[in-house]
Symmetry: C2
Subunit: 592 residues, 2 copies
């Protein structure tokens, strides 16, 4: 079946469903960052494989909406005239449809694949021209997808309390308190990491994210009903989770919700992360909806002491693999071996895979040579990997999922002799990294209040980077976790609290030339003053060959030396031979 | 008439008006920071003279609500049992009344003395217990105030375009564009500084704020009707303001609004700064209300080149007066003369009053010796002024209103030999001041994103200050002007734009011991990069005797030396004899 014939089949269904357009987002009912292959409906329908986009199919057109990252890729993968193209920020699909369609026409959508908030917003915009948004009973793409892959049925992994630091019973009791405070009878959980965290379980259903596909309802008493493919269940699950736990097949979820009003008058859910279908169904049963953030979000974000200890262990392990890789890479470059982005990325992955504790990479490695590193979201797997560029810098952003923690680290490496300008820009990025890492701040401070610390040395010379400075990171969970972030959005963001893990990743990018990023993970800690502070979790040297020591203050030089001493202490004994010598040299005091 | 008998008279009116309580705020119909004496209704009724508070009078109680600044003062000025006392933040009057009164009772208020936003909020809270908020036809305090002072009728001052840089016609044309964009037929202006700015006029009706008491309606064509006491009118006003200008007596305002629906279907107003009475009256006439910020706010905040030049001239002048004062003070201290907060404050005012261009102080001088400086909002006029404290620091925060600009400056001065700890804290505050002053930042950056720069060296050692870092300042207008501010509120604040004037005033306070603040005014300027930057406007040395040079980086030392050189260049020639020698010594390079 070609893409053209898929579009035609979809249109046949549109006609029988009396729809004038169908909205197909790159999302499934769990609305996560990663979509399992059997839910890649947008890719199946259109051939577009980017990580974000919407296709709107009308009787006479198929319009693909993507953002600036994917403009070229969309044009290549979905050529005209079969497709029209629009920029999703400049022309959002809902305003496009409002202006393109006529009064009383109907747009169909799978309300499982849009957040409640998006659904409401789109409905409102279309309504400005009396166009209605109709939730389809079944996803129309599924109706035409004859060779759809089957979902994984990998068994659930039970996480010991020695790793999680708290039992599911304890976690549910704390979450139940939030429900009582909100005067809710139950909460609808659809965030996969929240469900996995609450039950102290993990899964293997989504790439890079160790969760199982599931929904859940938890009552204000902490009783938890999990809806999932029951083939994934393992012996001991019920004992592991503890009292007040039951499992039902995921295909019975709607039936369950239809009977929920017997026991639940007020249902809490998170309108930003929860799909529209289930809350709308509950509302139809007369259940009052309470829109509030996911009650697992805050306790999941604030890691307990056991989790922090595990995350530190994971970083020692991950640092050893990364240092072995960096030592190897320096050797290869020194001996003139030809390598490309793919071969070095594979070698890094191989070092990590030697670790028995590694479960997965925490995201697809960004391995970018020369000018490729200047492209946000570059992937060497999208085309032919480029060879490393001599006398420039190489950027590698990677991480692992371990049973006790998740890592995410970026290092920028000298290949040959980079220019003085590149060294200056690296040093400015590093100074920003150091300033943020050294910050102390009162409780209540949000990431957007600290962001300037990381950018100030670039702003000083009129430069900046066009991405956030930091994101939250889970514990053997999502590498992008909320609610905290560090960025320049002036709007309110969540306060940084003890135990939160956050990345510190300022960068600098010169289009067509090179890219620089310095990323450690940090954990928020208390101090002997009323202030909070960060401690680095990541353990790997910054490339001293790129540091212009003359641009560093005494305190900054000291910070680097102290950090490098810590790296040496924590992972030095795990390295042997030339790797160990490499680490000694790379972490020697800068002043020396 | 005693306070007790005033309360009784008010209760008699309450009874005849069938009210169960009357709400008396410390505000008049213009809702400004300063209230003219004839509108000080709260002080008349209760004897409480603080700058913020609410008295709620019921048939059997009078409850005074003030914030932490005024708890002691309120207890002294309004003793029990005649008054009850409440903390206005912990127990807001509306929740207090909701819980104290019974269903169907009625609270009376003058809807001219509450913002539209507050009125709506209070009405809603009271409604939770079916209590209603009733807008009284006349202010009940006025009915009992037999010896009320008369309002000032000082003549209007016309500001030349050589000072304002733009004609009223030009300003009104630009504001009319905002009305068209909002699809409004007219705007209701009640902010006194907006009215004065738009018409290029000033007044003398309010202490420290050079405006006239007035309302205004401007149409989308830019036609402007001013409502004021017509005794203030001066010859040439109509020509000065230009076409499309008319004046009506302020007591005809309500009558005018009642006929407004003939020409205005949609009226714009600012619900945060405009009182509730007039918009509610318009709504009753069937006029649709558009809630949006005052259209003069942005253009007034972004000073044009002529205004910035004037503000710089005002700062040269003000700097000369301040330096003469500081030189005098050093001499007095050196020669062992006994002075108190009042005598030195008077001397500073006298130096400013020697300037023919001075129109007023821009606020009541804060002159605080020793431990008094640790109290926020200290005023030496509230009791017996304290003598200067030897071997400590003296804090003086003051400013002037000049025809071409408004100043606001704080200096902390060594009296004798302050302790090393005081010097360290002064130096840390100064480092924060320097970091903020030196910042460069992209367009779109709001003050809360830069605030950390000023606090970082205090946060580093677990300290902080409990006030904002900076506020906007008008041009021969309000010394506290929006929308920009620099503070640690995580919420969105207005982006800093070229021409905005903002204070930079980090501080440090040790209760019972001393207080430190370093304040310059800054103007936002463009640079030769895409970034914006600040330039200092204030011209007066920081007290070098309090600076621990060893705590400064090279760049910080250079900043001080450069700033001091600039002070010397700009005001050195205006000083004579010992004053000039004093300035030379105080501005000599630190390193020397």
């Amino acid at each position: 079946m070609t893409v053209a014939s898929r579009l035609e089949s979809l249109r046949a269904h549109m006609q029988s469903l009396k729809l004038d357009a169908i909205w197909v987002p790159r999302a499934d009912e769990f609305l996560g960052e990663y979509v399992p292959i059997h839910n890649e409906r947008l890719a199946y329908l259109t051939g577009f494989t980017g990580s974000a986009g919407v296709c709107v199919v009308t009787m006479d057109a198929a319009i693909l909406f993507v953002d600036g990252r994917y403009t070229l890729q969309a044009a290549n993968q979905c050529p005209e005239p079969l497709f029209e193209h629009q920029h999703i920020i400049e022309t959002p699909p809902e305003t496009f449809l409002r202006d393109r369609l006529s009064e009383n026409q109907v747009v169909g959508v799978d309300a499982r694949c849009l957040s409640f908030q998006s659904f409401t917003r789109i409905e409102q915009t279309l309504g400005e021209n009396s166009i209605s948004l109709s939730a389809m009973a079944e996803n129309a793409v599924d109706l035409i997808w004859t060779d759809r892959p089957v979902a994984s049925v990998n068994p659930i992994i039970l996480l010991d309390e020695a790793v999680t630091g708290a039992s599911s019973v304890q976690k549910r009791a704390a979450m139940a308190e939030s429900l009582k405070k909100a005067n809710a009878d139950a909460v609808l959980l659809t965030q996969l990491d929240s469900i996995a965290w609450t039950l102290n379980i993990r899964g293997d259903d989504v790439p890079h994210l160790p969760v199982l596909l599931a929904y859940a309802i938890m009552t204000r008493e902490g009783d938890f009903t999990l809806f999932t493919d029951t083939h994934k269940l393992v012996d001991g699950l019920a004992d592991h989770v503890g009292p007040g736990f039951s499992v039902l097949p995921i295909d019975q979820f709607d039936v369950y919700l239809k009977g929920l009003s017997n026991t639940c008058a007020r249902l809490l859910f998170d309108p930003q992360t929860c799909h529209a279908h289930s809350p709308l169904l509950c509302r139809d049963q007369g259940i009052e909806l309470i829109e509030q953030s996911d009650p697992a979000e805050q306790p999941k974000a604030c890691k307990n002491a056991t989790e922090v200890a595990g995350i530190r262990r994971a970083h020692v392990r991950d640092g050893v693999a990364l240092c072995r890789f960096l030592a190897w890479l320096d050797g290869e470059v020194a001996s003139g071996q030809a390598h490309d982005e793919g071969s070095v990325s594979d070698r890094l992955e191989a070092f990590r895979r030697e670790l028995p504790e590694l479960k997965d990479l925490s995201f697809s490695t960004i391995s970018a040579a020369g000018p490729n590193a200047a492209m946000a979201h570059y992937s060497h797997t999208n085309g032919v990997p480029s060879p490393l560029v001599l006398n420039s810098v190489y950027l590698v952003d990677s991480g692992g999922q371990y049973l006790d923690g998740t890592t995410d680290v970026t290092r920028t490496i000298a290949i040959g002799e980079p220019s003085d300008h590149q060294k200056e820009m690296f040093t400015r990025v590093l100074k920003g990294h150091i300033a943020l890492s050294s910050a102390r701040f009162p409780r209540g401070t949000a990431g957007n209040q600290l962001d300037v610390l990381a950018r100030q040395f670039l702003w000083e010379i009129g430069k900046d980077y066009d991405h956030g400075t930091g994101h939250g990171v889970g514990c053997y969970l999502s590498v992008h976790e909320g609610p905290q972030r560090i960025g320049k959005t002036p709007g309110p963001t969540a306060p940084l609290k003890p135990g939160m893990v956050v990345s510190n990743e300022p960068g600098y990018y010169e289009a067509g030339a090179y890219g620089i990023r310095c990323e450690n993970l940090l954990v928020v800690v208390e101090t002997d003053t009323p202030m909070l502070a960060f401690e680095p979790l990541t353990l790997a040297p910054f490339d001293r060959r790129l540091i212009l020591v003359s641009l560093l203050s005494e305190a900054e030089t000291q910070w680097i030396d102290d950090y490098h001493a810590q790296v040496r202490e924590q992972i030095g004994d795990e390295l042997q031979g030339e790797d160990k010598e490499w680490l000694q040299a790379m972490t020697a005091p800068l002043a020396a």
